[in-house]
Structure formats: structure tokens, C-alpha cells
Symmetry: C2
């Protein structure tokens, strides 16, 4: 068993999004990204099997997809995407997201 306290990784950076690797195993990888208002996690995808969940734990912004797609995202919203499908995030306010990747690639 392992405990993670999200309160301990509540840090932001002027120069770009702040990344914390919280857990890594053969089954899933859990990361916390913190974005200041206006920062962007650019749309990306990987040629790998699996899915990713992006859970907004604080703040508001948008989930990004291909062709400029943007879906409003507030705390308590979760986007589930194939790893191979383009996905990204834009922060409108300071924003924290919890990302779970299964399986890690």
C-alpha cells in the first residue's frame, strides 16, 4: 500500500506547467500537472495501446482535442481518451489535473 497526498504537490511554475510523478507500476502511472492560468499542456498523442484519464482536481479550463476542439473543464470533470488520440489541456484559472495512464508506455 502507498499513500499519496495531493496537497503536497500543489506547486506552480511561471515558466511552464509543473509535473509530479506520483506513482508508476506495470499497471498504471499517476501524475499531477499544475498549470498557471493561461498555461497549456499541448495537444499530443502516442502510438501506444491504452487509455488516459485526465481529472481536473482544481480550477477551470478546457480539454483540448484535434482540429482545435475545446471542451469546458471544471473541477470534478474527467476526460477519458485513448493514448493514441490527440488530447491536451488549457488552464483558464490556475488549474491542477491528475493524469492516470494505463498501462504505462
Amino acid at each position: 500500500m502507498k499513500m499519496i497526498h495531493l496537497a503536497e504537490s500543489r506547486a506552480f511554475e511561471e515558466k511552464g506547467l509543473k509535473r509530479f510523478l506520483l506513482h508508476d507500476s506495470p499497471y498504471f502511472r499517476i501524475l499531477n500537472f499544475n498549470l498557471q492560468a493561461g498555461q497549456i499542456f499541448p495537444v499530443h498523442h502516442h502510438p501506444a495501446e491504452g487509455q488516459v484519464s485526465i481529472h481536473v482536481i482544481e480550477g477551470t479550463g478546457q480539454f483540448l482535442g484535434e482540429n482545435g476542439a475545446a471542451i469546458p473543464a471544471v473541477a470534478g470533470d474527467i476526460l477519458v481518451s485513448d493514448i493514441s488520440e490527440p488530447h491536451g489541456v488549457k488552464a483558464d484559472t490556475d488549474m491542477r489535473i491528475l493524469v492516470t495512464i494505463a498501462p504505462p508506455f
Copy 2:
């Protein structure tokens, strides 16, 4: 891509914990359990490979383990456990947890 809004599954039940299946795929299963103050998700385990994360999204309580182990749990805390390892939850206040199982069994 799929959107989940945790605000839409914020329901509790007098007679026992309330369960919502939010996502199921070959990669992970995501569930939301809502416990009223005093309700218990009994300690259990399954003879399966994989891990489970239990993320407290609201309220306070305790993560439970074998031999009566109890670890304080507040919103923003995540327990990661092997599926085969005994784990459970007790709610001290009304409490919501997000459970991710990878891979589903």
C-alpha cells in the same frame, strides 16, 4: 474521448454505499462510491493481478487494511493498493471516493 462529470453522481443512500460505474475498458475501470458518515466499504481483496487507486474527492474518513489497520484519509488523499491486498474505506463524514482499477478483473 469521453467526458465524466463527478457532480452528476453526487448521491448518497441511507441503506448503504452508493456505487456508480463511470468507465469500463480493457485498460481501466473507474467507479465512484459515495458513503454517508459512518458507512463502510468493507476490507476485501481479489486474487487478481493489478492495482487499484482510491482517491478521496470529498469528506474525511479512513483507509482500512488488514489486521484492523486504519489510515486517516481526507479529500486529496489517494491510496494505491494491489488488488490482491486487503483494502477498504470508512467514512467519518459524508465521503466520496473515486476508484480506478487497472486492469479490470
